[in-house]
Chain length 138, copies 2
DNA sequence: TTACTTTTGCAACAGTGTTGCATATAGACA
DNA sequence: TGTCTATATGCAACACTGTTGCAAAAGTAA
């Protein structure tokens, strides 16, 4: 199976139309194997329109290909979802790590511990750790 | 002790010059007893310049009067620090709660559990819970 | 191929955050 | 209290992200 047909299959399985831009974007995510921001995409695809890339990220997120990582800096970052994600079931309980040196945001395997607070209905939890990542620390 | 002299004392103890704008801003934080954003201040102090309010928040944060709460929406929110905070020692390990209904962000008493990841140097952790707050749930 | 739906590219705008600079003001000291 | 110096303020201006509307282009299904 070629890379292209594989990517096409992913898009279709998430009910997304196969367009050049989407194939390129998804391929980039798969190749980089790390979280990316709109800015990263803009740098990589200089000929593409910013709005199109923005909408690509939105539709990918909506259809469960990517998940949006809440970044305190206000620069949204996106990471690939597990295979099991879809627009219907789109859950992520893992924590994220942001490196202060290289700026990379990584998805960690560890899940966020469940916190209960009397009187509150907790529905969602975002835990972002910061420090020096494995690569930069080495 | 009047409110004003109390506020003045707080500013001075954090090595901040006492100006009308700073007194008003700090008084507002103390009176509201909740986290506030630049927007909230703009609404409250319509005659004040946005930039001045912005810089007031910055200097308060820098000198340990307020702490900046990382909000995923990109709208920075600020909360009063403990009495013990200063520009030198400025640590916050508590978690925050954002209500999906009223939008309020609260500081919780509970501290964030320490997470260790092999190979990583974790220096900071931000945990934001979302759901329905005590007031809205009642 | 045709017809229909979705995506793209472009223009344009809102909001937040941010800096530079001249002026006003606070705090310190004589 | 008056003077001086460092700091804060107000204004203009800009960068950047996110966002929407709309006409043209492209994908998909029959």
């Amino acid at each position: 199976m070629t890379r292209y047909s594989e990517i096409k299959k992913i898009l279709k399985s998430h009910k997304l139309r196969v367009t050049d831009g989407r194939v390129d974007t998804l391929e980039f995510f798969l190749r980089q194997a790390k979280t990316l921001s709109l800015k990263d995409l803009e740098k990589e695809f200089k000929n593409s329109d910013r709005v199109t890339l923005y909408r690509t990220l939105s539709s990918f997120t909506e259809h469960g290909v990517l998940h949006k990582i809440p970044d305190d800096s206000g620069h949204a970052t996106y990471g690939l979802c597990h295979d099991t994600c879809s627009s219907e079931d789109h859950s992520h309980d893992h924590m994220h790590f942001k490196c202060n040196e290289c700026g990379t945001i990584e998805c960690l395997e560890q899940n966020i511990p469940v916190v209960k607070i009397p009187g509150y209905h907790v529905k969602e939890a975002n835990l972002i750790l910061k420090g020096i990542c494995k690569t930069c620390a080495a």
